[in-house]
Structure formats: C-alpha cells, structure tokens
C-alpha cells in the first residue's frame, strides 16, 4: 500500500473537476445580467400575473399549477391577490403580453443556459407546411 500519494493526488484532481461549475464562474468575467425588453402591452399592464420577483423565481411552478388546473380540473380562470383575472394559458395569455420571446424569455434562459422545451409546442410553428 505505497499508493497513498497517488490516491490523495487523484482525490484532489477529482474534487477540482467535480466542483468546476462552482469555482469557474467566480474567477472569470461574467457577462452583464441580461436586459429584458418589455412589449408596450407588458409595460402598460405594469404588473404581471403575480409580482415580478415571484414570476422570475417561480414562473415554471406557476405554469405547472396552471396546467393541472386547466387539464385536470377544467378550471381556466386565475384570480390573483388583487382580484385581476387571467385565462390560464401560456400561448394565449403569457405570450400574448410577452410576445417578444427573443428579447424577453430567451435572454434569461440563454444566460442561465436553460433550454426549456415549451417552445416545441407552445409558440408559432416555423416548420409549418404551407
């Protein structure tokens, strides 16, 4: 058992590689936080379905709750704390106001390296036949 040196060296190398995502960003120039563009419609509405901090952190959970409510319980109207009502639909409500996907949704998603597959079904179809 004279391999102690090699083993410890191996563990250290493994540790460095395994924690790469955590320390790599610390020492490098990050790009600026993404700047989101609101459509005139979104600006006029001032508040989204819920508060901005909530939407930024939890829009995916909200969409999941919306889907279960619409598909499983046949309930399609969302009433927020202020009593404002929304039709629970990604394509028809969210994307109606935020119709500028490339300057809104994509900006944060690209920054955080997320590729949601929502767009496989819930936006316009660029591959359409005609």
């Amino acid at each position: 058992m004279n391999d102690k040196g090699k083993i410890i060296a191996g563990i250290i190398i493994f540790f460095v590689i395994a924690t790469f995502p955590f320390w790599f960003n610390m020492f490098l120039e990050k790009g600026p936080a993404p700047e989101l563009v609101l459509t005139p419609q979104a600006k006029a509405a001032e508040k989204c379905v819920r508060e901005t901090e909530f939407m930024t952190a939890n829009h995916m959970q909200l969409l999941n709750e919306w889907r279960n409510s619409v598909v499983r319980n046949a309930e399609r109207i969302y009433v927020n704390a202020e009593g404002k009502e929304f039709n629970m639909s990604l394509s028809n409500t969210c994307l109606d106001c935020h119709s500028n996907k490339a300057e809104f949704c994509d900006r944060c998603h690209q920054y955080a390296s997320i590729e949601p597959y929502c767009w496989d079904c819930h936006i316009d179809n660029p591959k359409e036949t005609k």
Binding site: N58, R67, V71, A74, V79, A81, L90, S91, N125
Partner: protein, 267 residues
C-alpha cells in the same frame, strides 16, 4: 481495515440520504408557502356536465359533411397531416395521426353486420372517434395517469405527463389513439395559435373539445356537422341528447366489452 472501510461507506451513504431528505422537504415546504389568496375558477360561460356524450345521426352524414367535420377538428387542434407525398405511402400509413375519421359499417361495428345487409348502409360513411367511455380501459392502463377520466366525463390527455409508453393505445378497444412517432410540426398545414401542437413521443386523441366547452362553445365537429350530431350531458335527464336517445334506437361500438362508450349512433 476491511471492516472500518465498509463501516465508513455505510455511514456516508446514510448521511447522504439524510442530507438529501432534508433538502427535499425544504423544497416541498417552500412551494406551498406563497399565500392562499390567488385562486382559480371556471369561466362564466363554461359548459359543465356529469358525462359528456354524443349522438351521431349517421343517415345525415355525407362525404362532404364528414370532410368538413374532420377538417374542423384537425385544424382546430393542429393535428398533423403526414402525407404520402412527403414521406411515401408506407411511412404515411404508419405515422398517421387522426382524432376523427371516416370508415365503414363493418369496421366501425365488427361482427354486427351480416352478409345480407342493406347496400345503402354498407356503403354509408361512418365517423369514428374516441368514445370517452364511462369505464375506459385506457385510463386504467396508464401508469402515470397522463390519461385520465375527468369529472365531466371527458377522457383527457396530459401531454406533459405522458411518457409515451403506448399502453393506452394497446388498451383502447376502438383504435382511437394516435402516437407521435416523429415531430408533427412540419406536417401541420395551418397552425392554430390558440391550441398547442404536440411533441414527438406522446399519445394524442380527441378531447371532446374541452377547450371550447370551457368557453361555452360546442365541439368543432358538432358545429361543423350542421345538425347531424347532438352533443350534451348524458347525466342530465332533461338534456337534448337524452331526448334524442329516448326517441331513437341507437347502437354503440363493442358494448359487450363493458366500456360503456358515450358516443351513440343512429342507424
């Protein structure tokens, strides 16, 4: 040496499990935390029922009307047309997606006819679709409840939960379900932006136009049928559909299987 290494691994494993459980509990607890004030409700003009059902007066169906009905359904719901021109005849047949389609008596009702039937009925076009059975074998088969029977009787698809195992397709005694063997988007002729398309790898079928019922509209095929189809609540004894069922003799597909289909046919 042997034992203490094993001990260490055992303790590490339990510790990892314990730490993981704590995180999991935190995540679950947090998601419940954002206030009880927002709530959901049905729309004001939403149509509700105990069991939606349909009566098709087959004598009123001609090819032109049927084509209109199929087109109404398939275009509203972005059902792809995987045509022979694009992929060849064999592949087009294999990859076909259809929610409602035309067939003949002997196919819609196998075993029911005879060799001496009226020629007119033998040649008459019949429309078949998901029967939204009261005892659906498909929802029983689904291992994730991605397909399930809703409170209003509609057998729904949750395309997000579907794992594409196709057990429901094996279970359906009527062949009502289609599977997306490939990306459907290139084969959609005109996308309806108000209804999502589907992705490859999930099963789909007629949904009795749940999204239209929710805003007070009749299903697309019923509207396009121009009176040939009556749609309503089988659970309401005073509904039009119950009147029709009392007045006419109707048949349903494969009733001996006990599925109790909600689609009736007047011959």
């Amino acid at each position: 040496m042997e034992d203490s290494r094993r001990q260490f691994l055992k303790i590490a494993g339990v510790a990892a499990l314990g730490m993981g459980t704590a995180r999991a509990i935190d995540v679950v607890a947090a998601s419940e935390g954002h206030g009880a004030q927002p709530h959901v409700r049905k729309g004001d003009d939403a149509l509700t029922a105990k069991q939606w059902g349909m009566v098709i007066d087959t004598a009123k169906l001609d090819h032109e009307r049927i084509e209109r009905m199929i087109k109404a359904c398939h275009s509203t719901h972005n059902v792809p047309n995987i045509s022979a021109e694009k992929v060849g005849e064999k592949v087009a047949k294999r990859h076909e997606i259809k929610w409602i389609w035309e067939t003949h008596f002997h196919n819609a009702f196998p075993g029911l006819g005879s060799n001496y039937m009226s020629e007119e009925v033998e040649e008459r076009p019949f429309l078949v679709l998901c029967n939204h059975c009261e005892e659906p074998p498909c929802t029983q088969a689904c291992p994730t409840q991605a397909t399930f029977k809703r409170a209003d009787g509609i057998v729904m698809m949750d395309y997000h939960r579907c794992i594409g195992c196709r057990f429901c397709m094996a279970a359906c005694p009527y062949g009502s379900r289609s599977f997306n063997l490939r990306d459907p988007r290139p084969f959609i002729e005109k996308t309806n932006p108000e209804f999502p398309t589907r992705t490859k790898g999930v099963v789909e079928k007629c949904n009795f136009c749940a999204e239209r019922l929710a805003v007070g509209q009749m299903p697309a095929c019923v509207e396009a049928s121009d009176g040939a189809v009556v749609f309503g609540d089988l659970g309401d004894p005073h509904s039009e559909i119950r009147e029709v069922l009392r007045e006419y003799y109707t048949i349903r597909r494969k009733i001996s299987l006990g599925t109790n289909p909600a689609v009736y046919y007047i011959i």
